[in-house]
Amino acid sequence: MEIKRLTKNFGNPESWTLAAYEKTGGYQMVKKAFAMDPEAIIELVKQSGLRGRGGAGFPTGMKWGFVPKQSDKPKYLCVNADESEPGTFKDRYLLEHDPHALVEGIIISCWAVGIRYAYIYIRGEFGLPYYRIEAAVKEAYEKGYLGSNLNGKGFDLDVTVHRGAGAYICGEETGLIESLEGKKGQPRLKPPFPAVVGVFGCPTVVNNVETIQSIPWIIEHGAEEYRKAGTEKSPGTKLFSVSGHVKRPGVYEIPLGLPCKTLVHDLCGGIIDGKRQKANIVGGSSVPILTGEEADNVDLDYESLAAAGTMLGSGGMIVMDEDTCMVWALAVLLKFYAHESCGQCTPCREGTGWIRNLVYRLEAGDGKREDLDKLLSITGNMMGTTICVLADAAAMPTESFIKKFRAEFEAHVGAGRCPIRGKSAHFLAHAH
């Protein structure tokens, strides 16, 4: 059920060191790539069907193809290691256990796209992952994998690890770029897109850690082999970080298209204490929630999840058992989004705070019945109207929670308290 491509080195002794990495064939794919025409590598990545693993699922080869071939400015790669979506912790594992695979992926990607400088923008709260990737980059420089004239034909590449300051919005690619430039992290108006005007005004590729880390495997085994895992439209493997009420939470690398049921009930050992799965947020906190039953009947690939009205997102699966209060769960999520909205777009700045306050009130048992329709109407005004999709990421879950668990919300109003947790002022006390 699990297929270990990106996680193959996890668990090896000191897997994060250069010595351990080289022992398992590390950095060999750089040599192979240097012998290839850059265009051919982009073509290979297109053939593989690799889609961005940061959340949007954009085809990676196509994204690389948007970068102008000729440019009088240097080109940049920003590796997005800001991983801050609640429920998502797969990049952290990759950085902790196999940082050299990321470095190798960076070298190959930069060679393919003609990139001179790469940044690894890493979430500020990450401690160990930061030390590991920082050390890996240092080792790679010392060994001559990074720096100047890497292929003997004048290919130079410098990699800098940049620590964020702890803002979810700096994971959005243009928020990341602004932050990297030393500005307040807030997304840019598009167009222009980063491929044309990115960091420091130069053409820039932004890719997720897992995306870049897939590249060496594709070079080694080819596109056809890559497609042997996964489905026609969702090829390859994907890392899922599973948390919540499962017996064995953790990071699982599975072929796309695997039934969700297999991941939850087999790999993760099912729900703790044999309870019922009430709900499942399959792709990270920003995607619409599924009921347990829906989750048990869906496959984990881009199309099946879209057909089920949700998204694969970043693969941050949050499983909730029958004792979970859905109003509480939504309040937790909205607390996050209201706090993390960068605040520039009116519907997001005001909408996230508004729906949060309404849900806090409902959670406390002080809500009104009409608040539910009001919430749906507010989320309707938030979606599709902003610079980035954070507003949607707050609105979509809210909408799905209310639509799928409306009775629970109404029960709070009817009882004047949470039927499961009792009277609480937890959130209202923290409303700000």
Partner: protein, 523 residues
């Protein structure tokens, strides 16, 4: 720029290619509500108020960041647009204080305007409002109310892009976001009051104007700032015979959308310490008897063949019309008497934005009329009558008192009581640029109009009229009933103005001398 055909709400219009949809709609007579876009500050796309429906694009788009190309069609009048625009407006009101009754912006506030034109929904805002700082002096001339701020970043972009001083910033995230200045770095650049103009709501207000007048009581006239030789275009806003403020008026040839703070505050002499009756040796007199006295002196000088004993001291503060009338008076009535500019204001600050060191609004007009700016030749020999026109030469240069003393009679034509009017034997009230039509020529040679805003105070008269009445005592007359009459003569007799037709000056003026159309002389 290439013209393209587009459709706005089904109506075809022709506009310049590349225009954004807010500007394009404006040409079609359609207002797209917006807060953050400003033609002088560019697109930022943060308010999301300008959502429109573009044919062929499923999602609503922001009009400010969408640009016309041939055949583009968009609508602002669909149910979806109206609903979503109302939604954005509702968000803006969520944490907006209900300050309208005490807010200075009331009456010229975009939130109010759009609420009336688009919103007017039942309020369903029943959660507590966030509180932020109120009545904070962010600089010597500007007050901030952070609760009223819609975070459009116009003020930030003004200080970043126009002045380059960068005082304003939005700090914090989400609905904690707040507009502010840096600690110990107040908003005190020379253009700080422009932030008040660009602020679409009552967050930034002018200390000078605050609480002095409800804006709906104000009337507005197109005018010019007289603070320096730039001649920034302004709206002169007034009520009950009093000017309350200047606001910059767009003129892309001169001042774009801006004006400086010192210039903005130069309106006060239009209200205060006005000379609005004739004064003869310290006593109020009727204008006719005062004029008669002056006319008599002049007539005696002329009749006795001593017209060269009369001298005329003019000012680069005066309108072109005043200067021309004075020149004709010296030439036709006095047969070529001494005339020249005296009271040149000391040089002020010049910057890269608008301010010019030459603090006189009409130095160029003086020069184009061939009048010297050196008072020495005018005053040197003394004589019978010295006519001093406009401003305050004695106040600015008390040393001139000796030269003044060499004339038997000093007559002052001006609009304010000052050192010169006090010293003059006769002071006659003339209308300042708030009370008549006229022109100034700015440092680049652009002839610009100002429009009469107020009825003349007291006995004040247009200076060419007063000079004409004085001339009548010598049996001559000018016959100018209006600026137009005067300009007909001016154009005929002054080569530098030959190519300029007063009627065609329009709102943005025209470049003098060259005979170019207005648009050809942009910087």
């Amino acid at each position: 720029m290439a013209k393209v055909k587009i459709q706005v709400n089904g109506r075809e219009v022709e506009v310049d290619e590349g225009l954004n949809l807010i500007e394009a709609a404006r040409i079609a007579g359609v207002e797209v509500p917006h807060f953050c876009y400003h033609p002088g500050l560019g697109v930022d796309g943060n308010c999301r108020q300008c959502l429109v429906e573009i044919d062929g694009i499923p999602k609503l788009q922001i009009a400010c960041n969408s640009f016309v190309k041939d055949g583009l069609a968009f609508r602002t009048d669909t149910e979806r647009v109206t609903r979503m625009q109302a939604g954005v407006l509702e968000f803006l009101f969520l944490n907006h204080p209900l300050d309208c009754p005490i807010c200075d912006q009331s009456g010229e506030c975009l939130l109010q305007d759009y609420y009336i034109s688009n919103g007017k929904y039942e309020s369903r805002l029943d959660t507590d409002k966030r509180h932020k700082r109120k009545a904070v002096p962010v600089g010597p001339r500007v007050m901030l109310d952070a609760e009223r701020c819609v975070l459009c970043s116009r003020c930030v972009r003004f200080c970043d892009k126009v002045t380059g001083t960068g005082e304003m910033r939005i700090v914090n995230r989400g609905n904690r976001a707040e507009i502010t200045t840096y600690p110990d770095r107040p908003l005190e650049n020379d253009y700080s009051l422009c932030t008040v103009d660009v602020c679409p709501v009552g967050a930034l207000t002018s200390k000078d104007f605050r609480f002095r007048k409800r804006v709906w009581h104000l009337q507005s006239a197109k005018s010019l700032c007289t603070g320096c030789s730039r001649g920034c275009n302004v709206y002169m806003e007034h009520e009950g015979g009093k000017v309350y403020r200047y606001r910059p008026r767009e003129n892309m040839h001169v001042n774009d959308f801006w004006m400086c703070d010192p210039g903005r505050l130069t309106y006060t002499p239009l209200n205060d310490e006005r000379l609005d009756v004739a004064i003869v040796t310290g006593e109020e007199r009727t204008l006719p008897e005062s004029i008669e006295q002056v006319g008599t002196w002049i007539n005696i000088a002329v009749a006795s063949g001593q017209s060269d004993s009369v001298a005329v001291l003019v000012s680069p503060q005066s309108s072109t019309e005043t200067l021309y009338a004075a020149k004709r008076f010296a030439k036709d009535i006095l047969g070529g008497a001494r005339i020249g500019g005296g009271n040149v204001r000391p040089a002020g600050v010049q910057d890269e934005i608008l301010r010019r060191a030459d603090a006189n609004p009409n130095s160029k007009g003086l020069e184009m009329l061939g009048l010297s700016a050196d008072p020495a030749a005018v005053l040197s020999a003394g004589g019978t009558v010295l006519l001093v026109i406009d401003d305050d030469p004695l106040g600015m240069n008390p040393d001139l008192a000796g030269a003044f003393g060499k004339f038997e009679h000093v007559v002052y034509l001006g609009s304010n009581e000052n050192a010169t009017s006090a010293k003059a034997e006769i002071a006659l009230p003339i209308t300042p640029h708030s009370e008549c039509d006229g022109t100034f020529v700015n440092f680049e040679g652009r002839v610009q109009r100002f429009w009469k805003a107020l009825t003349p105070r007291g006995d004040s008269l247009w200076s060419p009229t007063i000079m004409g009445r004085i001339a009548e005592f010598t049996g001559q007359e000018f016959g100018w009933k209006s600026v137009r009459d005067l300009w007909a003569d001016l154009q005929k007799t002054e080569d530098a103005f030959a190519a300029i037709d007063y009627a065609s000056l329009g709102e943005v003026g025209a470049a003098a001398g060259s005979g170019q159309p207005a648009s050809a002389s942009a910087e």
